[in-house]
C-alpha cells in the first residue's frame, strides 16, 4: 500500500514538477541563528491568509449596496450561524496584520536587514504596509454604519486639500457629489478586488526576494556589511553552518502563526467584532465618527496640530513619511547592522512607538471633543440650590460652557478646567474672557443677557479652593 502510494506520488511529481517547484524554497539553507525574532513576517502572512479566507466567506452574505449593506451586516452579526465569529476573525485578523507588519518592520530596521543586497525587500515591504493600511481603512468603511459613512466624508475632505486635483479626488472617493448609491460599491471593489490583487503581486515579489537573497544572519557588532564581499560571506556561512528552512527553520513560524490564529479566534469569540450601530443615514446628526484603533493616532494628530499647518500635514505628512521609509535602504545600505552600533536606530523605533502610542492614547480620550452628554451641575457641586450662584450654574449649562469646561469632574475637557477658576481670575478677567472669547472659545457678547452674565460670573467666582473666610484669615495671618 505504502509502496503504491509512493509510486503514485512519484508519477504525479514527475508530471507536475512539484518537488522541482517548491523543493528549492523548502530546503534552502538559512542561518542557524535565525530564531524567534524572524517570525513576524510569516505571522503577517498568516494574518493575511485569515483575512482572505474570512473575507471571502463574508462576501457570501454581504451586499455592497449603499441601502442594503447595513441590513446584511446586522444579519451577519446577529442571525447567520458563525457570522458574529467570522466578523470577529476578520476584524482581529486585520488588527493582527497591522501589528505584525509593524513588528516585522521594526525588527528588520533594528537588525539592519534592509542593507545590501536586500534593499528591495524593504521597498516592497513599505508598499505592503501602505496597502495594508488601505485595506484597514476601506474595511472599516465596508462596515457600513454611521461611522463608516462619515469616515468617507472625512476622507474626502482630506483628499480635497491636495493641490490642483483635490476636489477631483474627493468626488472620486465619494463616488459623486454626495454620499449615495455609488459610494459603497466603489469601496467594495477597492477592498475586495483591487488592493488584494496588488497585494498578491507584492507579497509574491517580497517572498521571491526573501528566497533570492536569503534571510539575514543575526546581526553581530563588528561584522559590517560590505557589498563587495557580502554575498560570498553569506554563502560561506550558509554552507558551513546553515540549516534547511523546512523544517528546522520553519517550525517556529508554524508555532507562532498558530498562536496568532488562536489569539485572533479567542478575541473574536470573547471580545467580538465592533458592533454595528446607527445606520448610515447622513441626516442623523448625533454622530461621533472615530476611526478604528489603527488610525486613531492619526485622527488625534489632526486634532492637535495647529490649524494653519493642518492642510500641509494632511497632504505632505503621509507623502513625507512614505519617502523617508522608501529611502532608508538607499541612505545606508552598508556598514554595521548590529543595533548596539546603530543606537539611533533604537531611538527611531522607540520614538515612533512613543509618538504613535501617546497620540493613540489622546485619540482614545479625545479631550478636544465637546461633551454633548454633559448635564447641569448637581446641587452638591454648586454648593447651593438657589440664589445667583445657582442660577449662574444653570446658565453655565444652558450656554454650553459645561460642554467644554470641567468642574469637579463634570463636563467636557475641550477648554481649561474651571473647578478653582475663582482663585485665578478676577470678576473683570472673567467678563473679558466670556465677552470676547479666545482662540478656542466662542465670544458670548451677543448671547448672554446682562443678568445671565452676572449670574455666571458670580457662579465662576464661587469656584475656589478654600472658602472666602478661610482665605481672608490666611491672608491676614501672613501679614
Amino acid at each position: 500500500m505504502k509502496r503504491t502510494l509512493h509510486k503514485l506520488w512519484r508519477w504525479f511529481d514527475d508530471r507536475l514538477g512539484i518537488s522541482d517547484l517548491v523543493g528549492p524554497s523548502m530546503y534552502h539553507l538559512v542561518p542557524r541563528d535565525a530564531a524567534w525574532w524572524y517570525v513576524f513576517g510569516s505571522a503577517t502572512t498568516v494574518a493575511f491568509i485569515v483575512q482572505i479566507v474570512t473575507g471571502v466567506a463574508l462576501t457570501f452574505s454581504f451586499v455592497s449596496s449603499s441601502s442594503q449593506a447595513y441590513d446584511t451586516l446586522v444579519f451577519i452579526s446577529d442571525k447567520a450561524p458563525f457570522g458574529h465569529f467570522l466578523r470577529g476573525l476578520h476584524y482581529y485578523g486585520a488588527s493582527a496584520m497591522i501589528l505584525m507588519i509593524g513588528a516585522h518592520m521594526a525588527q528588520t530596521f533594528l537588525f539592519g536587514a534592509y542593507k545590501y543586497p536586500r534593499e528591495m525587500n524593504w521597498t516592497t515591504g513599505v508598499f505592503l504596509l501602505l496597502f495594508t493600511l488601505m485595506m484597514g481603512f476601506t474595511g472599516q468603511l465596508l462596515r457600513w454604519d454611521q461611522t463608516a459613512a462619515w469616515s468617507v466624508v472625512i476622507a474626502a475632505e482630506q483628499a480635497g486639500r491636495v493641490p490642483l486635483i483635490g476636489d477631483w479626488l474627493a468626488r472620486l472617493i465619494l463616488g459623486g457629489n454626495t454620499i449615495g448609491g455609488a459610494t459603497l460599491s466603489r469601496f467594495f471593489a477597492v477592498h475586495v478586488f483591487i488592493v488584494p490583487a496588488v497585494m498578491f503581486v507584492f507579497i509574491g515579489l517580497h517572498v521571491w526576494l526573501v528566497l533570492r537573497h536569503g534571510i539575514t544572519a543575526a546581526p553581530r557588532a563588528g561584522q559590517p556589511v560590505n557589498p563587495e564581499t557580502y554575498r560570498k560571506e553569506y554563502h560561506e556561512l550558509l554552507e558551513k553552518d546553515g540549516i534547511p528552512f523546512w523544517p528546522d527553520g520553519a517550525w517556529r513560524d508554524f508555532v507562532f502563526g498558530t498562536l496568532l490564529i488562536l489569539v485572533i479566534a479567542a478575541l473574536a469569540l470573547w471580545a467580538g467584532p465592533p458592533p454595528i450601530e446607527t445606520p448610515p443615514d447622513p441626516s442623523i446628526i448625533q454622530a461621533y465618527p472615530k476611526p478604528d484603533w489603527y488610525l486613531l493616532w492619526y485622527f488625534a494628530l489632526l486634532a492637535l496640530i495647529p490649524s494653519r499647518l493642518e492642510g500641509y500635514v494632511m497632504v505632505l505628512g503621509p507623502v513625507l513619511v512614505g519617502i523617508i521609509l522608501l529611502v532608508v535602504p538607499l541612505l545606508s545600505n552598508k556598514g554595521e547592522r548590529a543595533p548596539s552600533r546603530r543606537p539611533w536606530s533604537i531611538a527611531v523605533v522607540l520614538l515612533s512607538v512613543i509618538m504613535i502610542g501617546s497620540l493613540w492614547i489622546e485619540g482614545l480620550r479625545a479631550p478636544w471633543t465637546p461633551d454633548f452628554e454633559a448635564k447641569p451641575l448637581p446641587v452638591e457641586v454648586v454648593g447651593t440650590g438657589s440664589g445667583i450662584v445657582f442660577e449662574g450654574s444653570r446658565v453655565f449649562a444652558a450656554k454650553a460652557c459645561i460642554n467644554c469646561h470641567q468642574i469637579d469632574g463634570h463636563g467636557g475637557q475641550r477648554g481649561p478646567e474651571l473647578t478653582y477658576v475663582g482663585d485665578k481670575l478676577s470678576r473683570s478677567d472673567l467678563i473679558t474672557r466670556i465677552v470676547n472669547g479666545g482662540v478656542n472659545m466662542p465670544a458670548y457678547a451677543g448671547t448672554l443677557k446682562p443678568e445671565e452674565m452676572d449670574a455666571v460670573v458670580a457662579f465662576l467666582q464661587s469656584r475656589i479652593r478654600v472658602p472666602n473666610d478661610a482665605k481672608k484669615a490666611d491672608v491676614s495671618a501672613k501679614r
Binding site: S66, E157, A170, S283, T369, G437, M441, P442
Partner: protein, 182 residues
Amino acid sequence: MNNIADSPLPVRSPHVDDPKAISRRGFLEKLCLSLAGVCTAILAVPVVGFVIAPLFRKSPRKWVTMGKISDFAVGQTVNVTITDPSSLPWAGITARSGVWLRRETETEFIAFSVNCTHLGCPVRWMKDAELFMCPCHGGVFYKDGKVAAGPPQRPLPRYNVQVVNGEVQIEAAPIPIQTALS
C-alpha cells in the same frame, strides 16, 4: 532556480549574432509589445471611463422643499432632513442629509450645511448657547455660521434658499469640500 541551463527543454536566446535574425526578431518583439499595448488600451479606456464616470455625472440643480414658512419660528434654528433629488435609485437612506435652517426674520432664511469646514463631520446646534459644535475635533460656529472656536478656518457653508408660494426651499448642493491648504 530558474536558470535557463536547468530548463527541461532546449532553449535559444533570441539575441544571437545574426543581424538578419536580430532585425526579424526585433520586429516580432516590437509587434508583440505593440499588440499588448493595443489590448491594454482596448480594456483600459472603458474601465477607466467607467470608474471615473461619477466625476462627470451632472447633478441637475433642483430645489427641495423644507416646509411651510409657518413651520419655522423667527430666530429659531432647526434641523431639517432632505433627500438628494438626484440620488441613485438604490441609495436608500444614504441619499438623505441634514440641513440647519434658521429663520432670521419674517422673510429671511439661512440654510447651513451640517458639514463642519474642518473635516466634514456633522455639527450640532446648541439651542440656548446659539452655537454649532462639532463632535470630531471641537470646531464651534456662531448662529450666523462664522467660526467661533476650534480648528475650522471657514464659516459653515450655506445653501441657496428661496420662498415660493409660502414654502421654504433650498437648492440641493454637493457636500462642500475644502480645497485650501490653510
